[in-house]
Symmetry: C2
């Protein structure tokens, strides 16, 4: 904190950014606009903060999402109307997928609002509350500053809400308040970011209840999903697996929430799309401990889970459920801790059995030495390119389905928007993640896989990469259009075609003196050579790698998913 305690008063704009910095945010994403310019001045009052200056608001929002998934919180600044509406898709994605973000919208001054001026960036009807009303639908909380007296409390409350609940919040900030003075000493008391404790008796009851079920179970498993990462209980799951020795499976969204090198890791469960031995192992379990479940269609093989729900215990960030009994407001974070303590004190008759053999399937690829590059080879071979600490970002499409086949080394973090599924998301999200990695440990690599169709939606995020000389790996799957959609409906339809681009020209356009590398890979040999090249393995410049793939080549699980999706859509 750069505020001297002698400065008894500071501008509200500075107060906001000091608070944001206190909770670990170092990069502010967004686009300037005349209703937020005076706010942006205060970013540079705070040591260690920077303004990313994204090329557009949707990209800024997606980058805030990716940054938050690595960093725990992010901050996005846009301008009134045109700015916040351009970002709503990104905000809704954060809401759906439990990602914390403070979205600050610079709005017209209070006097403009009360005089109902027909300002630009309005609908011309004198209403200034419409955009906040729209945001209420897709945020945990949306509030505007209406007087300086309550401003600090509102800011603090919104930051705590976004951080602890891992959801986006909206702060409307009329431009006239930015430079009004507020009490600086409030900054000396750090925000309380601890989750409120559970109600004691309810917690005791559920722990006893779960413990009893565990004691009875012959064949229990743990199923880890997205919210284990989002709500930061990965370490608790790891401890729990160590204590109990239960087999651990993940969902597609849960991938990277559990160490795949752990000997108790059993693979990815996706209903009927699972490997048969994984399906058998999960569905024959007599107790399923489901942690952080987000059971959407693409995460469950379109709801083809085939286990007895009576065998399931659900752990969530805001409730837990044992068979049919819901424990409202009982948070998994504390329950998992208490449960582990209790198990450690008790005794167990559990005898660990063998795990599905398919978890080692990726090892098949070592025998393939040549031929045209295929999706199947790519995703399995990738297991050998990845290393501890990597962040791998995949796009909704062949990438997000393909990466399920990839084995992740320890401490790999996966980012994919499986539930919200907005195409184009992955590129700016990877850029946001790369900003966070640069702040945490520049040696950690950020590796993106995106299709040529999705790339077109958000390509200018690569301009942000060059602006900051970031060094991600950008793998572009060139398969001539929207392959995931061709699989669902309209294989030869014109609407699933795209304009072809010369991908080798992208970095030429944006780079402006930044060092970069282009690669094109069409064969197994070329991929092997590249992945084994030491220089290529070092993330010392931005690289764009175009992967030439057949138009209809797709991971087998996506082919099956697409067939189910079309059926659901037409019924």
């Amino acid at each position: 904190m750069t505020t001297s305690t002698n400065d008894s008063q500071i501008p509200l704009g500075r107060y906001i950014f000091e608070r944001i910095r206190q909770v670990g945010v170092k990069t502010i994403f967004g686009v300037p606009g005349d209703f937020n310019l005076s706010l942006l001045d205060h970013i540079y009052d705070v040591e260690g903060l920077r303004w990313a200056g994204n090329a557009n608001e949707l990209n800024a929002g997606y980058s805030a999402d990716g940054y938050s998934r690595i960093n725990g919180l992010s901050c996005l600044v846009t301008t009134f109307g045109v700015g916040d509406l351009s970002a709503v898709n990104a905000i809704a994605g954060m809401m759906a997928e439990h990602v914390g973000c403070l979205h600050i919208v610079g709005t017209p001054s209070l006097s403009s609002i009360s005089n109902r001026l027909l300002l630009h960036h309005t609908l011309g009807n004198g209403r200034f509350d419409i955009f906040e009303d729209m945001s209420k639908h897709i945020t945990e909380k949306a509030t505007s500053i209406e007087d300086i007296e309550h401003a600090q409390a509102i800011v603090d409350d919104l930051i705590v809400t976004a951080f602890t609940l891992k959801r986006p919040v909206y702060l409307g900030l009329p431009s006239n308040f930015v430079n009004e003075l507020v009490d600086a000493s409030r900054l000396e008391k750090k925000l309380d970011l601890e989750l409120p404790l559970n109600e004691k008796e309810a917690e005791l009851e559920i722990v006893e209840n779960i413990y009893a079920k565990i004691q009875e179970a012959k064949n229990p498993i743990v199923l880890v999903d997205a919210c284990a990462s989002r709500h930061d209980v990965k370490h608790l799951v790891a401890v729990f697996a160590e204590t109990t020795q239960f087999p651990v499976f993940t969902t597609p969204m849960g991938k990277s929430s559990f160490d795949e090198d752990n000997p108790r890791y059993g693979g990815v469960y996706v209903g009927v799309l699972s490997n048969p031995d994984v399906k058998e192992a999960v569905e024959s379990a007599d107790l399923i401990l489901s942690v952080g479940g987000l059971l959407s269609d693409f995460n469950t093989g379109s709801f083809t889970y085939n286990y007895h729900t009576t065998n399931v215990i659900e752990f969530h960030s805001d409730f837990c459920k044992v068979r049919a009994a819901t424990y409202s407001n009982v948070k998994m974070q504390y329950v998992l801790e208490k449960l582990d303590e209790k198990i450690k004190k008790g005794t167990s008759n559990y005898v660990p059995g063998p795990l599905p053999a398919s978890v080692h399937d990726y090892k098949q690829v070592v025998n393939v030495k040549s031929g045209k590059l295929t999706q199947d080879y790519l995703w399995k071979k990738l297991s050998y390119f990845l290393k501890s600490g990597d962040v791998i970002v995949t796009e909704t499409g062949t990438s997000s389905f393909g990466v399920i086949q990839t084995h992740f080394p320890s401490k790999v973090t996966a980012i994919s928007q499986v539930l919200w599924g907005s195409i184009g998301y992955s590129l700016p999200s990877a850029v946001g993640a790369q900003f966070a990695l640069e702040e945490i440990d520049p040696n950690r690599r950020c590796i993106l896989f995106i299709g040529d169709g999705s790339l077109q939606l958000t390509v200018q995020a690569i301009s942000d990469v060059c602006r900051w000389n970031l060094k991600p790996y950008l793998f572009v799957l060139n398969n001539k259009g929207y392959t995931i959609e061709k699989l669902i409906h309209g294989e030869h339809a014109q609407y699933n075609m795209i304009q072809t681009w010369d991908h080798s020209k992208i970095l030429e356009l944006f780079h402006d003196k930044v060092e970069y590398e282009n690669h094109r890979v069409s064969t197994v040999e070329e991929l092997n050579t590249l992945f084994e090249d030491k220089a290529f393995n070092k993330n010392d410049k931005v690289r764009l790698i175009e992967l030439m793939l057949d138009e209809m080549d797709a991971p087998a699980n996506l082919v099956k998913q697409a067939k189910i999706s079309e059926k659901i859509n037409s019924s």
Copy 2:
């Protein structure tokens, strides 16, 4: 219409597109997504319809806006959640600026909705009505199909609403209804697109009232604003000016709503930002006939109109106002007709006076022969490059302010988003306009002016240009960032800087075998040479012309506007 009257039933999807085609739409904008794919199949059932296939939804929305401003209506198709939220900024812009558009959103099937499935593209909370609720705020009407019986009536009503009121409407279309059969014979009765007549007595009263005021006036003027174009009364204004010989002025948004070669054209009125002789002429008038006014800040020199409102008669699409008396639901379209008839029958003592001399200011440039290219020279010289039938699209920034200084030949159409003012709008909007021009008359040229900062937001719209081999002129003002914002606040601030791009590489990236031309212009000589080059004047390929301008060079009216804006924002 390709439907044979023997086919007694057709799929609802086809019905929708037949209706859309009937009202003059030939291009459908949008992005495919799995909830709209089966709908898109039906585009090709209808002769003369095409699917643009835009690179992203915001661009698709902006293109629908530009297309509609030329064509009178447009149609946009997106997919549920991720698609419609990406487009809301464009929809809100159409709402603010009176642009008609049918926005069709492909949504999950009714059975998915009633089972509250946790589908992708939802917030994971089982609510499917959120996005329609959000759209209600920014559309004239938002409706979803809930049963096949009412589907045709809903579609018809939405199209008529969008067309007659010139506003966007939202149609939610659950995927299961797309192929359900509806009565084809309904297509034989064309939609009634006529505006409902005014209530007769109210209309008579207001016409008498205005006529009396006109008879008394010594020094009347006409002030034409945006809605004269949006609601298609340009021809009535022209007739009225001819009949009365009153001087006619336009606002910035009204520019191109009146023929600037007409001897009764007096110039652009923008409050204190006007040329002094224009300001004097308008503000000394004893009667102001204001047609289609949209009096927003950037359209009025920040509300610095300085005339007696008691002298004003307002003509609007949904009401008229004579001094303090409002006539609700009395539409200007009919009032102007009746008023003209009445005046033609009467007598007049009006003696036309001289017009402001500044209307000929652009002629100054003919004396400038050399030197660095400046904004002042550019906008005036442009008067000589433009020709009848051109569509000129300008971006919120130096372009939209600069073009006020340009003299438009007859039948030039200007597009600029002065009220909503979303940066990045102009490029995809120009692309949409170009689609419409290609359908109406390929010899008419579409000429875009956009700054290097704004270009970055929506650059992939140029991919759409190449996909369709469209031939617009893309003038890119290279002035190193957001000049309009630097003028308002933060001239040297990092947040007003952008990543510099190599603009000559843009067409190389997207073109894929389409013929194109790059130009760079830094001096007066180079601009003169280019504008006088016959080959360049012919729109036979896409051209990108980079204009090298000083960072802080800006039209004088923008410099003044920026100072006022900063004051309003901070007060």
